[in-house]
Structures are given as C-alpha cells and as structure tokens.
C-alpha cells in the first residue's frame, strides 16, 4: 500500500471541517502529553518510534482500517519510517509532511470580515500553536498586527492581494512566540509600532504606540484606533478597526483572559487587568467583534475556522469577565496559573532584539502550546 504525504494545510482543513482522523503520534510520551494536533473528531494513539524499531506487527490490530491514519513525529523522519513499515504490512497510511515542526509553523488565512470602504480583514490562524495574527487590507495598502516569525506567509499574501504593507503593530511584547513585526517592517519599509511601556529595553527603533493613536490604511477611512489596555503586560494595547472589530491582543480571549505573570509578577498587574476588562472594555460597544491574539482550545474555533465573538456575548459568557468579587478575581489570575510557555524569557529577549537566535533555535524556543491565558 502507498505511503501518502499529508500537509499541515490539509490537516488544518480537517480540523476546521471537524472531520475524523486517526493521529498516530510516534514522538516520545512526554512530548505527546505536552502538545499534540488537536481536532474535535480526531482519535489518538501514542507509541514512540523507538519502540517500533523491530517491527509493527504487534500494533497492527490497534490501527483502524476504516479511518484515515496520519503518522506524526517531530520533524517527519520517524513518521516516514513508521508509515513505511505500516504500509509494508498492508495498511494505507499517511505521514505529516515536516512533522510537528511544520504544524507549529502553519498559518491559515481566514477572512473575518469586510470593511466599510470595501477593504477586508484577515485572520491568520496558527493552528498548531494557537496564535492569531491579522492583516487589514484597504485600497492597495495593508496593516499587520501581531505577526509571527513566518514572515514570508504575510509578504506572499500581500503580494497576492496586490497590497503594500505600510504599518506593522504588536499589541504587546510577546512572550510565547517570536514576532515577525520588525523583520517585515525592515523588508517593506513599513512603520513598526510598539507600546513604549513594553519596549523600554528594546534595542531597535520603533514608533511609539499609545492610547488614542489613529492610523489610516489606504487612502480612505479605515481607522485603526488604539486603546491602552494594560494587564497581560504593562503596555498592552488593543485596537478598534473600522469601528467594528476589537483586536484584544492577549488581554481578552474567547473562553479565557490574559495571564498577568509573563513579564513580571502577577500581583503587580492584576489591578490593571481588572481595570481593563471590567471598566475600559465595558465602555465599548457590545457589537464590536472581538479578535484575540490567541485561542487555547479547538472549541474556540468558529465553523469557518476563525476565532471571533461579539464583545456583548463575551461579557455574558466568558467566565473571566464575570467575577464580581475583586479578591476572587485576584485569586483566579494569580493562583493555579498554567505552566509558563516554553522558553518565554528567551522569547521576550528575542523580541526586544537583545538576543538573535538562528532559525533552528527560534523553532526550538517556540515548541509547544502558547499558554498565555488563565481561565
């Protein structure tokens, strides 16, 4: 039987369409426990490849024949080996091209809305890691928000759409992934905006992004209005795009809220976080569509694979927005925090320009889930 190759893009479509897939993960157990391909209707089996060096006969009956089977490993080499053994034994299986490394880096553009003057807003879903970045397109120009280090994806997309990237924003200094903002700004000549309170230690030039800044994209009135919203970091800034979309960064997610401990002590910023979520955001229209910088679980995806919800609905349903008692809130965001993202200190230093790891090191630093939220 044939050994097929499946791309991260194809697996992403299966996640979006809630298709069935048997994921046979051959990485070691701790890597699998830490982080895996998530899908609503996916089934899993984890047997490390090094347990299968003598053959797959003993596990053949554990692999379904009436379901698509995808063998997954870290980089692809071991999954090819196991897939070939299974194929030789008569099974029809595929392996994931590029392994979890490629899965972590795949970006899927999903259109989330039209803008008033005919422009468009795209969300780039980094499905394997849960990072969300955005491109606002209008009249031949584009702005990029919270871009990942896979800069070619945005540059190619902009070229395909025939737009010039003129502004690049980061809502805050990221701790879970390496920003591509500076690189893209250098390559395109765009202005790179960072909140100055998060940028006190950066080693490069940037444009100070502060509450109340308005930036126009294209020659019409697409308006990116910034809103100071500290709590995840001291500089965290949200954007209201076209008076319709609220890009909330790592402050507010669909099913959770930002954690305040990745750039300092949780106790220091819990007050800011509450002020932002319980006062500043309350003054905004319930009709705004919230577009966060992350999702944590696959349930947060909409039918089309996008991640968004109206602010009014989040006020009603998001647990983190519904804790009346301030001390209880304080307790939730300072105690029982999830583990911190892999290498988050090094990632912060990279985003400040203090260290310059190579591509391979950057990949290693970003391995695993994002873990920016608390719920």
């Amino acid at each position: 039987m044939a050994v097929n190759k499946m791309t991260s893009k194809e697996v992403t479509q299966k996640v979006f369409n809630k298709e069935k897939l048997f994921v046979f993960d051959v990485r070691n157990e701790s890597d699998f426990q830490d982080w895996k391909i998530e899908g609503d209707n996916f089934q899993y089996m984890n047997i490390p490849y090094f347990e299968l060096l003598d053959g797959v006969e003993e596990i053949l009956d554990k692999i379904p024949t009436k379901m698509e089977v995808l063998v997954v490993c870290a980089k692809e080499g071991s999954s090819i080996m196991v897939a070939e053994m299974l194929s030789y034994a008569g099974l029809d299986v595929a392996y994931l091209e590029g392994g979890m490394k490629a899965w972590s880096e795949h970006l899927e553009p999903v259109k989330v809305g039209d803008l008033k003057d005919g422009g468009e807003l795209y969300q780039f879903v980094r499905i394997g890691k849960g990072c969300l970045s955005y491109m606002v397109l209008s009249n031949g120009e584009a702005a990029l928000i919270d871009s990942t280090r896979m800069t070619d994806v945005y540059l190619d997309f902009a070229a395909e759409k025939n737009v010039k990237i003129t502004h690049v924003f980061d809502t805050h200094l990221h701790a879970d992934h390496i920003s591509g903002g500076r690189t893209i700004a250098e390559k395109t000549g765009a202005t790179y905006w960072l909140p100055p309170k998060d940028a006190t230690e950066v080693t490069f030039e940037y444009q100070a992004l502060e509450g109340g800044n308005d930036v126009k994209i294209g020659d019409t009135s697409i308006n990116i209005h910034s809103l100071y919203s500290p709590g995840h970091t001291i500089g965290s800034t949200s954007f209201v795009v076209d008076e319709k979309f609220l890009l909330s960064g790592d402050i507010l997610f669909i099913d959770s809220i930002g954690r305040p401990d990745l750039a300092g002590l949780a106790e220091d910023w819990v007050g800011d976080l509450r002020e932002t979520l319980y006062n500043r955001y309350r003054e905004l229209s319930d009709e705004l569509v919230v577009l966060p910088a992350h999702f944590m679980i696959i349930d947060e995806l909409n039918e089309d694979g996008s991640v968004s919800e109206k602010l009014g609905i989040l006020f009603a349903k998001n647990h983190g927005l519904n804790i009346e008692d301030e001390s209880e809130f304080r307790k939730m965001v300072t105690e029982n925090l999830p583990p911190q993202p892999n290498a988050y200190q090094e990632i912060r230093e990279t985003n400040m320009g203090k260290i310059n790891p190579d591509q391979e090191q950057q990949r290693e630093m970003e391995i695993g889930p994002n873990r920016c939220a608390v719920r």
Binding site: N28, E29, S30, D31, P48, Y49, F50, E51, L53, C73, A74, K75, G77, S78, M81, E364
Partner: protein, 192 residues
C-alpha cells in the same frame, strides 16, 4: 573538556531522527553487557528520545554532555547478572550506614568501581573512581590499611571488587549495598 573513557564511540552527528536511535540500537547489539557507549548527535530531540528508549529497553542512560552543537549521550548496556542480590564478600554496609560515616567525617575511603561515565554523571563527593576492569592494575593507588567502602550501582560489581581487594591484602574492605541505585545522600556530577 576531558573526555570520558567509553568502550565505543558512535558518530551520529548530522543525522536526523530516527537515525541516531536506530544506530545506537545497532551499536548496543555488538557491545557486551555492562559496556558503555558514547553517542554523538546533533539532533536536539535525541536527548529525550535516547533517555526514553533506554528506559524502555532496560539499558542504563547515564547522562548527556552538551559541547556546542554536539550532544554526547552516555549509555551502558544492560546486564542480567546485576539483578542478582546474592553477594559473597562477608563485610557489608547499607547506604545509610555509609552516609552516616560520611556525615561523621570518619576517615574512610569511598571506592567507586563503576565505569568512568557512570561515575562522571553521579557520584559520592570525594569518591575514588577505579572501574572494576582496571582494579587489579591499580591496587597501588590504594592504601591497604585504609577503611575502604566499595560502591557500584547495585552492589554486584562492588562485591567482586571487595573480594579482589580482600584477596590482595586489603584489610578493612566493606561492600556497600545496594550502592548508587539507591543513594539518596549528596552527590557530585560533571553537569554542574
């Protein structure tokens, strides 16, 4: 960096997963029980995988030294004879008894007869390292009158060593049981 003496060095540099482990497995087959291999790899993932593989196959994962881009993994081939608990040297002490003597600053010698690589990653502070295979050639390094506590991983190699020492005129030799596999006292490691 001093190099650790091993029985075999496997070059798996530049190879991607699964090859470092495929090659290690093959090399292990050609080694004798108890021998130590150094596996040189550049694949970062090899560290966790070699450790997990060793655990699942019963081989002993000793540790990893990182030298720039190169990861040097040390493994010792499993040996069945170490599982036996019966020892022949009559004078024995428990780990706890040895620990008490060390804490009491008594003037004793701790002789570790495991392989160099085993010793390097985890040993009792100030222990002398003489692998069992070299012991007979190195008797002169030890004082025949000293109170010597012999340790290995499980008490088996140290039993052989203690017998040899006693036969060669060493007067106060004690075998420590079980030894490093159950040691909870302080240790020194090359990775500090």
């Amino acid at each position: 960096m001093e190099t650790l003496k091993t029985d075999f060095v496997l070059d798996a540099k530049g190879l991607a997963c699964p090859m470092p482990i495929v090659k290690t497995k093959k090399a292990m087959n050609d080694l004798e029980a108890g021998q130590v291999v150094e596996v040189q790899a550049t694949d970062k993932g090899s560290k966790a995988d070699i450790k997990a593989w060793a655990e699942s196959t019963g081989h002993q994962y000793l540790g990893t030294i990182e030298e720039g881009e190169v990861l040097k993994h040390y493994l010792r081939k499993s040996s069945n004879d170490e599982a036996k608990t019966e020892t022949k040297h009559p004078v024995v002490a428990t780990n706890e008894e040895l620990e008490k003597k060390l804490q009491g600053n008594e003037s004793i010698v701790v002789l570790d007869v495991r392989e160099e690589a085993e010793y390097a990653f985890n040993h009792i502070p100030n222990a002398i390292c003489i692998p069992l295979g070299q012991l007979e050639d190195r008797f002169t390094e030890l004082d025949q009158e000293a109170e010597i506590f012999v340790v290995c991983r499980t008490g088996s190699r140290s039993d052989f060593a203690a017998q040899k020492l006693a036969q060669n005129g060493f007067k106060k030799v004690t075998n420590v049981i079980p030894g490093m596999s159950g040691w909870t006292g302080s240790t020194t490691t090359i990775n500090n």
